[in-house]
Symmetry: C2
Subunit: 275 residues, 2 copies
């Protein structure tokens, strides 16, 4: 039986590409229409693994996803970086002049704003997924609608790319995390990155003290994201990613942070990905 | 001539309430349909002051606004906290049974989700502003549409609140910043808070080192927000708020941070607000 992997969006989406890159082709894909649905599938055992975008090099953290991982006790077992390419695609033989509307994810529309400024006759319509529009154009043979989607969507749904790489900023990458309900325990020598969550108070130096412990233990900070603690207005939780050369260093930091930081939890220990 | 204050939204919005709380009634309100428009009005001199929501105790930072302030060289000259109250309002004499749709800002709709789960017949429609729907209901005498808006909007547009405080989480506050094109130089003894922006690299301990300087200079960290530097993927800028008892302490920290941190800039020095 193949591995059941829950992704946001449908076949041909960026999440699908990450599933392919990470687990190969022999997987059973569970298409989800929301990030919440990924968590549901993992919680009720319908999916073995989940793939979730967590931050983008232009837009920053996808903040609600941090809370989804934390509040549902999910484990991060890996990460993956994907370069994002936005391609304008239509039914084969169709041309830009015929297009009245382009449907895509709000983020994709935003990142291609400059392109569409040059084509003011095309109306931008927000949709939940990039690949879903591509599929719909083919299913319903839509002549006046274009999709902005990854190349894979054009191949899967037999569409023609009439304008490749239409995003304004070319340096566009998204970091995805691989989720699992139960923790996957890797051999210590393979682990060189961890995602942590803790709370500090507003006392002078309390965050600095925590970061000092990390630094003293030879951990490098690659990401810090503060999020409000909903029950206590203006109190912040911190989501932090650290990398290290030796698991022993991390182990030492963990034992100190468990004592020092409030509500300290390791969300995942994994092998870092190339970016 | 009264002070010209640019706000997001129209009269009766939460931004209007903040303008009133901060500057009183004798102001000339400039209604803006986007946060960008506030910046434009400040840049071209049409507005003297701008009011902008920057973080919410439930949803967290309004990330694009951090970049708007930074990239347009705006100065933060003050802050204000507002408790957010979502009230369901309709034409006077109308009742909940008549309502087919509720129009409001996506954030307001989201925060009242539990209420509308009990009224599945009412369709939720996203709008750019809370108060704008209230105005439209009155202008066009709309019988089947309700607005979720602040109390002030019901008073201004002569509507009836049929369900007050329908937000799920009652502890809901938003922090607003007051913006100006030129820096407003306050007497040093009145300043006890500052907003800073800098970049650090991923080297071990570099953020900790900056925070240590702050702590050593007796500054308290009240907020930290990391944001990607768009030109350099996976490099982060930090937006930090600090409070202090003596301006001299802050002055010392500033002179050190100017040397230590990359691209260090003070976005504003001001008097903290009560929350």
């Amino acid at each position: 039986m193949s591995l059941k992997v829950a992704i946001q969006g449908i076949k041909g989406s960026n999440h699908h590409q990450v599933a392919k890159d990470f687990y190969g082709d022999d997987i059973d894909l569970l298409e989800c229409l929301s990030f919440d649905a990924i968590i549901d599938h993992l919680s009720n055992g319908k999916a073995d693994k989940g793939i979730m975008a967590i931050e983008n090099s232009i837009a920053g953290s996808i903040i609600p996803n941090y809370n989804l991982v934390y509040h549902n006790n999910m484990h991060i077992i890996g990460e993956h970086y994907l370069s994002i390419h936005h391609n304008l695609m239509v039914l084969k033989g169709n041309s830009l002049e015929n297009i009245k509307e382009v449907h895509s994810h709000p983020m994709a529309l935003l990142q291609c704003k400059e392109f569409f400024k040059k084509h003011p006759g095309i109306k931008l319509v927000e949709d939940v997924d990039t690949a879903e529009t591509a599929k719909r154009i083919q299913d319903k043979k839509l002549q006046h609608i274009a999709a902005i989607a990854p190349k894979m969507a054009a191949e899967l749904y037999d569409l023609e790319i009439i304008a490749p790489e239409i995003q304004t900023i070319k340096n566009n990458a998204t970091r995805f995390i691989i989720l699992k309900k139960q923790n996957k325990v890797l051999p210590e020598e393979e682990i060189n990155k961890a995602s942590l969550r803790f709370i500090t108070d507003h006392k002078r130096g309390s965050l600095a003290t925590v970061l000092n412990v990390m630094s003293d233990c030879n951990l490098s900070l690659t990401k810090i994201q503060s999020l409000p603690v909903i029950e206590t207005p203006w109190k912040y939780a911190f989501f932090v990613d650290v990398t290290f050369d030796m698991y022993g260093h991390f182990k030492k930091a963990k034992s100190l942070l468990e004592i020092m930081a409030e509500d300290f939890r390791v969300l995942g220990e994994y092998k870092n990905a190339l970016r």
